[in-house]
């Protein structure tokens, strides 16, 4: 079967799709991957030119245990289940994950007083490996921590994961199993008939029997097309700073703030790429596309970072970015089936969607059957191995076996990130290929390093332009 990934022209006509998923974020791709297990005609439609291009590309990339979720909520269950599923999936497909553990650091008496309650909450969430550390143990674990910390809650299973490879793996597997991926395909309008929905998209009409709304920040708008007005998404911006890889040795764990009435706060965390993250901010906005950073935001982060890890501030900043959480004014996910409409809404996946994605995929597929979809017999999905972007296992430039077979893996193009010609070529020819320089960066890290293109920018662009059809 030739994989179907389209980006231009009319959508295939003929029989309606059995299921269409709107939104190619980590949630939508996870749902499409789950559906791909069944003998269904499934489409995944995405408004932008790539999957994982919305909130999913700009988060803190933590694979949460869910120790601090609201016990008994849908989110708590799906995060816990999702963490287990994704950790296992990552190990099988080569998605980089590092189990570095988290420390919730208490900086004053009020925060220290909260730690035992957090420990109890973790237990209620079925997480039993957390424990309290006193100041000495804390500084033993994290010697570069700023002065004045009083203690911490240790959560040894919190991990960092690659946020870009994850939806890419889902989409790749889904497409290999026959799901049609339509990019640059924005859903503009929806007509719901007795048996089918007709979606008016920026690339023409698309008919489908069942519909899943995984449109992230726009899930409320899609919902309104179907006559539901139960929630409104208010984007909550999180600005983040990425510090140079040379800062990586400064920190060993994910350093989480103790949540207080003032919100979740700012963390310092390693990334699987070997950088250090500082962030995010938390700002309610009116504009669903405002992913700009601000002077105030960056100043705020620097002040927070100075307290947590003073030496971090001396290091070079590699990148600054912002993501938007899909806040809905309610703590929990807004996942809802509408049996009379053969429709499922997947809204309000605010700040844990990466972790929960696989569990959401299974949960939503279950809800679809409640609305009448017959899944048929599940089959094995094609096995995949994703290109390794992580530093914890050898990247291609360190692999004599690969270079022996193909010298392109020994030809480094992007020097800061040590991305080879072979990897760039692979990303441009992959099942779900890079269609933009940013897409190429998310698949290879090319141009994403400390020089931001000073050395390799034009060379990478030239390779990209050459490969364009």
């Amino acid at each position: 079967m030739t994989p179907t990934v389209t980006r231009a022209g009319e959508l295939p006509d003929g029989d309606p799709y059995d299921v269409t998923v709107i939104g190619g974020g980590v949630v939508g791709t996870a749902i499409a991957r789950e559906l791909a297990k069944y003998p269904l005609r499934t489409a995944l439609v995405e408004a932008s030119d790539d999957i994982g291009n919305g909130t999913s590309k700009a988060n803190t990339a933590i694979l949460h245990t869910g120790f601090d979720a609201v016990p008994g909520s849908l989110e708590a269950g799906l995060v816990r289940e999702g963490q287990r599923l994704l950790a296992e999936y990552a190990a099988g497909t080569g998605i980089p994950v590092e189990r570095v553990g988290a420390l919730l650091v208490a900086w004053d008496d009020e925060q220290r007083a909260v730690l035992p309650a957090l420990l109890a909450k973790a237990e209620r969430n079925g997480y039993h490996a957390a424990r309290l550390l006193d100041a000495d143990e804390l500084y033993d674990r994290e010697p570069r921590l700023g002065p004045g910390a009083l203690g911490a809650l240790e959560v040894p299973d919190e991990s960092v994961i690659c946020p870009w490879t994850t939806p890419l793996a889902y989409a790749t597997q889904a497409v290999l199993a026959g799901v049609h991926l339509h990019l640059d395909c924005r859903v503009l309008h929806i007509d719901t008939g007795p048996d089918t929905h007709t979606l008016t998209t920026s690339r023409g009409p698309l008919r489908t029997r069942y519909l899943v709304n995984a449109a992230g920040l726009y899930a409320d708008e899609i919902d309104r097309h179907l006559g539901h007005d139960t929630f409104t998404v208010t984007p909550r911006r999180g600005q983040l700073m990425v510090f140079d890889k040379l800062a990586r040795d400064l920190v060993r764990h994910i350093l989480l703030p103790v949540p207080t009435s003032a919100g979740k706060g700012v963390l310092v965390a390693p990334t699987v790429f070997g950088n250090v993250l500082l962030g995010p901010t938390s700002e309610d906005l009116g504009d669903k596309s405002d992913t700009a950073s601000t002077a105030d935001g960056l100043h705020f982060l620097r002040e927070k970072g100075r307290r947590i890890l003073p030496e971090l501030l001396d290091e070079e900043v590699t990148a600054v970015y912002a993501g938007l959480r899909a806040a809905t004014g309610q703590e929990d996910y807004r996942i809802q089936d509408h049996p009379d409409q053969r429709y499922v809404t997947v809204g309000g996946i605010r700040s844990t969607g990466l972790t929960a994605s696989l569990a959401i995929g299974a949960h939503v597929t279950g809800l679809l059957t409640r609305t009448g979809l017959e899944l048929g017999t599940a089959r094995e999905l094609p096995g995949i191995t994703m290109p390794n972007l992580g530093e914890a296992s050898p990247r291609p430039y360190l692999r004599a076996d690969l270079i022996d077979r193909d010298p392109a893996y020994g030809t480094i193009v992007c020097h800061c990130e040590r991305v080879t010609l072979g990897e760039i070529r692979d990303a441009l020819n992959a099942t779900v290929p890079a269609r933009s320089l940013d897409g190429l960066r998310r698949r290879t890290r090319a141009r994403g390093g400390r020089c931001q293109g000073f050395s390799c920018g034009p060379a990478v662009r030239a390779l990209f332009e050459e490969a364009r059809p």
Binding site: K245, L246, S289, T291, A292, S293, T294, A295, G297, L298, E316, V317, T318, A319, V320, Y321, P394, Y397, L398, R399, A400, D401, I403, D404, P407, A408, G410, T411, I412, H415, R418, L437, R450, C451, Q452, G453, F454, S455, G457, P458, A459, R461, A462, E465
Partner: protein, 416 residues
């Protein structure tokens, strides 16, 4: 995982003017096997993509950067150095040999290598700080460059750039960026600097065909996917937006010190390069450093001269010469001075290149007096004949080096 293992006498990392200068001189003076490794496919370093004059011996006009680069390459090869391009030094082997040699790990299309050298010369150069490192907020549109990327795009790859450009920074490299933009057919809308206007610079340099906005701080970039403008705050608090589709951040240089740091070399707080003495010794015996890695950024011919000057101490090291001072004394500057290079004392009698130290300042100083002192004791006092200005080197004679107390603490240089 197999690696090809070899031994050489001197391994030089980076084939820019500095590394090539060191290679040429070392090979010519019989250092044995001298190998220069360059990660780019073409050797020559940054000058490769500088298509303006101002290189080589004649300061104005004359040789262009690419011509100069070719001449440096030819000289090194003619002298007998082995030059290998398209190979990257990726790090230091964990188990260094016991005899004081160093082992580096290398990736190239022919496979992985591990090369052991009796002396290593780091010549990895410097880069310009990109927008992100300068913490300029706003969206993340395309059309944002450093001079290095711009010059490569235009001169090496013939890629289109935009039509209306703003250049941030008015040092020489900013003007080189403006020239490159005009070559590419873009209009330079303005050049922006947070510095006050400099009367002398305006007289010395032919005026650009664009306004120079002084005392203006870049406060953000506008545009989500494509750049639409650069916002500025002027000294009087006014804010403006310059409409443009291209912006070039120039001149804020930072050494490419990854290998230096991975080796655990002591860095200098001011230059951010490895701390080094007048013999280009770093804190790790057998590891030398030259060129812009030490002090971003000097003229290419300075980098080249440093490379050549490092040959003698490297040869002394290979011959097992006397070890450097057991406890080098650090040199440091007080604000508004930014750095001094070299920045530690070395073996007795060692003098820096041309008998003088190089310094930089953060703001303009009219004919300052530079005071050198150690533990409250004044070692020297020198008046500069010209103003010291940001972005340009000025110098301090090294005559006082002999008066430094080797057991004393940091030597401080203050501008009064």
């Amino acid at each position: 995982m197999t690696r090809d293992e070899r031994t050489v006498d001197v391994l030089i990392v980076g084939a820019g003017p500095a590394g090539l200068g060191a290679g040429a001189e070392l090979a010519a003076s019989g250092a044995g096997r001298v190998e220069i490794l360059e990660r780019e496919l073409d050797a020559g370093g940054v000058p490769r993509h500088c298509r303006h004059g101002g290189f080589g011996r004649r300061p104005r006009g004359g040789e262009t950067g690419d011509e100069y680069a070719r001449r440096c390459v030819a000289a090194a090869v003619r002298a007998g150095a082995t030059l290998r391009t398209g190979v990257t030094v990726t790090g230091w082997a964990e188990n260094a040999p016991a005899d004081g040699a160093h082992t580096l790990e290398i990736t190239g299309p022919a496979g992985l290598e591990r090369i052991t050298a009796r002396a290593v010369v780091l010549a990895t150069g410097a880069r310009e700080r990109p927008r992100s490192a300068r913490l300029v907020p706003g969206g993340r549109p395309s059309g944002v460059y450093t001079t290095g990327e711009l010059q490569q795009a235009v001169h090496l790859y013939r890629q289109p750039v935009g039509t209306r450009a703003v250049v941030i920074g008015n040092e020489a490299v900013g003007h080189a960026a403006a020239d490159t933009l005009r070559t590419a057919g873009a209009e330079v809308v303005a050049m922006v600097t947070d510095q006050p206007p400099s009367p002398a610079a305006a007289l010395l340099r032919p005026r650009g065909r664009f306004p120079l906005l002084t005392r203006a701080t870049v406060t953000g970039l506008t545009g989500r996917t494509a750049l639409t403008g650069v916002t500025l705050r002027h000294e009087d608090g006014r804010t403006t937006t310059l409409r443009c589709d291209t912006v070039v951040f120039t001149g804020d240089f930072v050494p490419d010190h990854e290998l230096a740091r991975r080796a655990g070399l002591t860095l200098d707080r001011g230059t951010r390069g490895p701390a080094y003495d007048a013999e280009y010794r770093t804190s790790l015996p057998g590891v030398f450093a030259v060129g812009n890695l030490l002090h971003a950024v000097e003229k290419a011919r300075v980098a080249s001269a440093e490379g050549r000057a490092a040959a003698a101490p490297v040869l002394r090291h290979l011959a097992g010469g006397p070890p450097p001072a057991p406890r080098p004394v650090a040199l440091a500057v007080d604000a508004p001075l930014l750095w001094i290079a070299p920045n530690r004392t070395g073996p007795a009698g060692a003098r820096p290149l041309r008998g003088r130290f190089v310094l930089r300042t953060a703001r303009r100083l009219e004919r300052p007096v530079l005071v050198v002192s150690q533990d409250g004791r004044e070692l020297d006092r020198q008046r500069l004949l010209l103003p010291a200005v940001p972005g340009r080197a000025f110098h301090l004679g090294a005559g006082w080096l002999g008066r430094v107390d080797p057991r004393g603490s940091t030597v401080r240089i203050t501008a009064v």
